[in-house]
Symmetry: C2
Subunit: 430 residues, 2 copies
Amino acid sequence: MLIKSIASQAKKASFITAALDSATKNQALTAVADALQQHAPEIIQANEQDVAQAQKDNISAVLIKRLKFDQAKLNDSIAGIHSLTELPDPVSQTLCCTELDKNLELYKVSCPIGVLGIVFESRPDALVQISSLALKSGNAVLLKGGSEAARTNRILAQIISTASVQAGLPQGWLALLETREDVKAMLALDNDINLIIPRGSNAFVKFIMDNTRIPVLGHADGICHVFVDRDADLDMAARIAYDSKCQYAAVCNAMETLLVDQTVAQQFLPMIKSQLDRADVEIRGDQQTAQIIKVIPATDQDWQTEYNDLIVSIKIVNNLDQAIEHINTFSSHHTDAIVTENAATAKQFLALVDSADVFWNCSTRFADGFRYGLGAEVGISTNKIHARGPVGLEGLVTYKWNLIGSGQIVADYSGPQAKNFTHRSLDKKL
Amino acid sequence: MLIKSIASQAKKASFITAALDSATKNQALTAVADALQQHAPEIIQANEQDVAQAQKDNISAVLIKRLKFDQAKLNDSIAGIHSLTELPDPVSQTLCCTELDKNLELYKVSCPIGVLGIVFESRPDALVQISSLALKSGNAVLLKGGSEAARTNRILAQIISTASVQAGLPQGWLALLETREDVKAMLALDNDINLIIPRGSNAFVKFIMDNTRIPVLGHADGICHVFVDRDADLDMAARIAYDSKCQYAAVCNAMETLLVDQTVAQQFLPMIKSQLDRADVEIRGDQQTAQIIKVIPATDQDWQTEYNDLIVSIKIVNNLDQAIEHINTFSSHHTDAIVTENAATAKQFLALVDSADVFWNCSTRFADGFRYGLGAEVGISTNKIHARGPVGLEGLVTYKWNLIGSGQIVADYSGPQAKNFTHRSLDKKL
């Protein structure tokens, strides 16, 4: 089937999924979980074929680890679906209600976005997770996974689609795309597709962002900073900087650049160096840093590089203002932290740093939907529009305005005899 | 100055405007209002020159009416600024607060979007209104008005910029672009500009949307529907349909297509025709309509046309489902209404119609920021992402996450000895 007709069928289905009640959606989720459990042997077998092929094709061990979908990973995916049924329905929530006049009431109500286009690389668990998030939030979804996982994805999509349609979802609400050409075609369908969520490497996300005018929820880079202020508790600063870099270096909320106020550099740099050395972290530093500790000289390129590895760049700044300017210039607007005991300094930093997550006296690694308590994480967004930072289910909904009257017309509220609006806030739900 | 450096200066200024307190912003607004009053003679003189030139250039009377900026219009603009000072500050509002653990508190806080690019046609009052909305919401702004209003815009921008900078706004927070080439250049600067708001004709807005990957807040078309259900109070239906079409035909929330359930068509169509005839409305109808009342035959093109004029298309539908399908296919997702006494039918319509404003038993003409009580209207958006429908000041802000700790690191919340998160909702403000 042409991708255009798949998308247009998804669009039609999305009008129906938008109005499904919570019970139907939760029953469908449970049915999907049960079907996945029941078909576990076929899923695992398909995945083994994918893995065998990948090994034949000399795919890297890291990629193969991500590609692998065994009983343990399947159990995690199924547990994820069950926990989703316990979350509140993000749809049909009355966000506010205003009386415009007697018996003329305005409701701002949450509703699904419509059709989501999800593009992910080789992890099959992403397919399960994102389909169930889409179902819970009443959206239709087009999925494109990595070609290495083609067999696994095909059987997963088929099981999820069949089980959910039997449980009341409309035909075509979920569809799997198979080729790169399909993705290119999808990125052009801005009439039918309302939001693209890319998951995968930075280069991959950047490619998506550069090739569609459909809104994209995601982030290309994660260049995060920790700034050690002159009023920092230096032990705390070392602990936070170490955790931000080393607790898990290969992720988007890990620190890449450490900024240190010149006033405390002499004392702080040897402290942090001895810790980083123990974890075998490569340290690149600017000229001033090099005068205090032994470092590889940093170039301008370092300030705009996401290492995703045990490498850190260090720069000495004159003061808070210079730290903020550096961050606002080089940060990927993901997560940046200050360590200071000075509340006024911290408040300046929190207000002036233009990032999705701006922290005071804690590790950048806390920027995460699970740690934020969002229930389910859709992704992390560095967009400034719609959803920002870790995004929960509320990132998959928008709102509409429902005005409920009893025959009111605007002519009665215009001209010299105009009736007045009451504009009274009401504590009512639709 | 190159547009790229103007935008980059605006970006730098936006980091400062983001942290201005409410008092400073309100004082700056008052200073702007006073300066406009004080320089009224020069503004009006500049505008008279623009109008004279436009008349020489044989610009249409409608455009000249929009271009004209006399003492009365200036007074309206100044009154608008004063009323803006009385609205609550949309920035630095704590949207929610969660305790992640003891002394580790997460605040979701509203903040400005950054740099707005506003493109409007010939109305100089748009320049005043949008600059003051940007100032109130802590955003920097690049403005491009119609070339017919070049002299008026230049003096307005100069007065607003000078007065606000004297009152504490950073240099370069507001800049006026003068040429079409500047606009083209601006539309490409997606690193520095965060939101484009186009105001003007549909063709103009469509051009902007088609030529930038910066998010656009606005709407190209306003193809709105009224559906007269089989259970409608037909007198009410005629009153609402008439108001939706005739109260002001040249606006985006006016009805373009009237859908009538076949069950009541025989009775309803002559009723509405006699009213529309009195207002000299041209009626185009489908074949079934033509069998009941005298109409010009409608073509498929009619269902996707925004007349912006005293013309209406009428189509008879079999039932609610067909009405919803027609609307979801042809509506511009702006505003659509149902007239019915049947609550179950209405609820279906409210849930299934995929538009920003979905109404029950009232005129489509109510879709408007002033009527909604939003305080100030930034525009009407048919986007599904970010802001939808009439957009108030909240459409010019986004949010950031501020996490405030006392030295917490993620390592303590990981592994076998992991501390638990409390994830307790707190009633605190930052």
